[in-house]
């Protein structure tokens, strides 16, 4: 735990929480205060901002690399279109950060969420009020979801700035071969950022559950990332392709369907339902763990 964490926790104590007393705030205004305090805790950490900064730099690095290589792009897919239209830097960066950078960031933040409080000793006081545990968990999850969205929007914004500075921009050619205005394209890219944030919710749920099992944040992060890698390995084995559609990352690339004319919703909806299912199961497990946990546990 860095000093900034302790400060962040302390700040939450001052914003309506009474961690040292046995009382949790009641409903209404206090619930809002709790949610606000959780956001403060997540976004008050230096590491959160470092992660966001790295994500924001992904488009810049990709853009500079394409610019320096100077080729108009023999590469297929979105990367190959960046040189011709900076707009595609947004989509390409989002697609590139999806397999590794974004899951890593979500793993770090979600592994921290409950285990971090455990290791600091602040969870103990939060747990002494059983009525507040469900709400505490809800606040943790909302903060995680907000982080997922912030992370993808950071890439979107980074791609927008780097793409407009480094490359010419213009009307957007969709996968189906039709052309739409830049505004339409940017809105679709924004939709992609939101969809990818939604794709990360299942992993965030897993992280939250793992985090409720241990009091060592590092162990929680490692276990969550391990689970992510296991999903990746299972998805790469062709002999078990019967279970592939049920794996966490199966529908992650469905975001590209938003760039068809008209958008193809089937795979997108299926992916969001899958993420919802993973989230429901692991959130319920985290809830069962947290509410049945000994105060000292």
């Amino acid at each position: 735990m860095s000093p900034s964490d302790v400060q962040a926790v302390a700040r939450r104590s001052n914003s309506g929480q009474l961690p040292e007393s046995a009382q949790r705030p009641g409903a209404g205004r206090h619930t809002l205060a709790l949610f606000g305090a959780e956001l403060h805790l997540v976004f008050g950490r230096a590491r959160t901002w470092v992660l966001l900064a790295v994500l924001g730099l992904v488009p810049l690095l990709v853009g500079v690399a394409i610019r320096l290589s100077g080729s108009s792009g023999d590469a297929e897919g979105f990367i190959g279109q960046v040189a011709g239209n900076g707009f595609f830097l947004i989509v390409a960066s989002l697609g590139l950060s999806l397999p590794f950078f974004l899951p890593t960031a979500v793993t770090v933040i979600s592994g921290e969420s409950l285990a971090g409080e455990s290791s600091l000793g602040t969870l103990r006081s939060l747990l002494t009020a059983p009525a507040g545990r469900s709400r505490l968990l809800a606040a943790k999850m909302v903060a995680l979801a907000v982080f997922c969205l912030t992370a993808t929007l950071t890439v979107w914004l980074g791609g927008l700035i780097a793409g407009f500075v480094l490359f010419p921009v213009g009307d957007v050619v969709l996968l189906s071969g039709s052309t739409v205005s830049l505004t339409d394209g940017l809105l679709r890219a924004l939709g992609i950022a939101v969809l990818i944030a939604g794709s990360l919710l299942g992993l965030a749920g897993i992280g939250l559950f793992v985090s409720s099992l241990t009091s060592t944040p590092l162990a929680a992060m490692a276990a969550t990332f391990g689970a992510f890698i296991v999903f990746g390995i299972l998805g790469a084995i062709p002999q078990i392709d019967e279970i592939h559609p049920w794996l966490l990352m199966y529908g992650w690339t469905s975001f590209a369907d938003l760039l068809r004319d008209p958008p193809y919703w089937d795979a997108i909806v299926r992916n969001l339902l899958m993420q919802g299912a993973y989230l429901a199961v692991f959130y319920a497990a985290a809830w069962a763990r947290l509410t049945s946990r000994d105060v000292n546990g």
Binding site: V173, L175, A256, V281, T291
Partner: protein, 366 residues
């Protein structure tokens, strides 16, 4: 809080798993519930299907193929096997009249569009950012833009199997099902011969328009479909003419080609293949056909197989060797397709058993 009450809380995540698994497993089953439809005889249904005519339709087609073909790493990308015959695909299709068609194959983060309005045909590949413009002759016999166009049309696929109906096929109506939200009859074709690897072909026929909505091919062994092509959504409204127009986007390389007035029969259905003719030897791209109906075997000659040390060589090394008066060769079998590769460079392929292939080998022209 007692330990019992505490452990009871774990019932919540367990219930969540059960609900998710239940919805995931049973959802499709409930959606496929058999609708109530008046009874119909196989002959009546067959007659209705063969005279079915719609002015136009559009929808989404899903296909899944598992022919049990060996996966050859490194070969797949450049494979000559039509992509419909491997894996799962989704395509948006629209048809209007005899000469207007649009098929968009929704690839992974890419799309291939094939469209024709009767005068011009376009093929666009978003991954390669290339477009091919094909000027069609004034009166094309049958504008064959690409085999994909037919492959993603359940009607066209069904027609091929219906054409194969002969006295060697048992036809019956096996019930009803719901396909793409429409009530459909299930028409099952079962080959009577045991020389083919095809177990049965089931067509889901729409009960209002009599258009085939889905084709399912089952192998003789096993219960997993070898091929399934069907609509996941369909509309029988005639698509607007603009659907079939295509404007190449800026920055896309356009190649223009003109189709000669007399369309060469490049891609023909097995039914339309030329009969075996000893005076006209078969070549690598022009197969000869032996047998008919379900027992049709295509013979390719002069195929230069140089497997080297790749996975194909390994596959051939493990293959069964057969011999006869005709010579000797290697037999490759999968659950649907069998191939006999003779030592003198002939290849016999068919949806038949390995023994049938070996028996047909003497008839194959050298």
């Amino acid at each position: 809080m007692g330990a019992a009450r505490r452990s009871r809380r774990w019932l919540v995540p367990v219930t969540a798993i059960a609900v998710v698994a239940g919805v995931g497993a049973l959802g499709p089953v409930v959606a496929d519930a058999s609708p109530d439809l008046p009874g119909i005889t196989a002959q009546d249904l067959l007659a209705k299907v063969q005279t079915a005519k719609v002015d136009g339709l559009s929808g989404t087609v899903r296909s899944a193929a598992d022919l049990g073909l060996p996966a050859l790493p490194g070969v797949e990308g450049e494979s000559q096997i039509p992509d419909l015959l491997t894996g799962e695909h989704t395509a948006r299709v629209a048809f209007a009249g005899p000469d207007k068609a649009r098929v968009s194959v929704l690839d992974h983060m890419a799309e291939r569009v094939l469209t024709t309005d009767g005068k011009t045909a376009w093929a666009y590949d978003s991954a390669k950012r290339e477009a091919v413009k094909l000027a069609l002759p004034a009166r094309p016999a049958a504008p064959k833009v690409a085999p994909e166009r037919e492959a993603y049309d359940p009607q066209a696929v069904a027609k091929k199997f219906l054409a194969a109906i002969d006295p060697s096929t048992a036809v019956d109506v096996t019930g009803t099902e719901s396909v793409a939200g429409r009530d459909a009859y299930k028409l099952r074709l079962v080959p009577k011969t045991d020389k083919t690897t095809v177990g049965s072909v089931t067509l889901a026929i729409d009960s209002k328009t009599w258009v085939p909505l889905e084709v399912t091919v089952l192998p003789r062994t096993g219960s997993d479909p070898a091929l399934q092509v069907g609509f996941s959504s369909v509309s029988f409204d005639v698509p607007a003419a603009s659907t079939f127009a295509f404007t190449p986007p800026k920055g896309v390389k356009v190649t223009e080609k003109t189709l000669p007035a007399i369309t060469p029969k490049k891609h023909s259905t097995p039914k339309a293949l030329p009969k075996a003719d000893p005076n006209k030897p078969a070549t690598a791209d022009r197969p000869t056909v032996i047998g008919e109906g379900w027992e049709t075997i295509a013979v390719f000659r002069g195929v230069e197989l140089d497997p080297g040390n790749g996975p194909l060589a390994q596959l051939l090394a493990n293959a069964r060797t057969v011999q006869g008066s005709w010579g000797s060769g290697k037999i490759l079998t999968s659950k649907m397709v069998s191939a006999l590769i003779t030592d003198d460079g002939r290849v016999l392929v068919g949806l038949v058993t390995a023994d049938t292939l070996a028996a047909a080998a003497p008839q194959a022209p050298r």
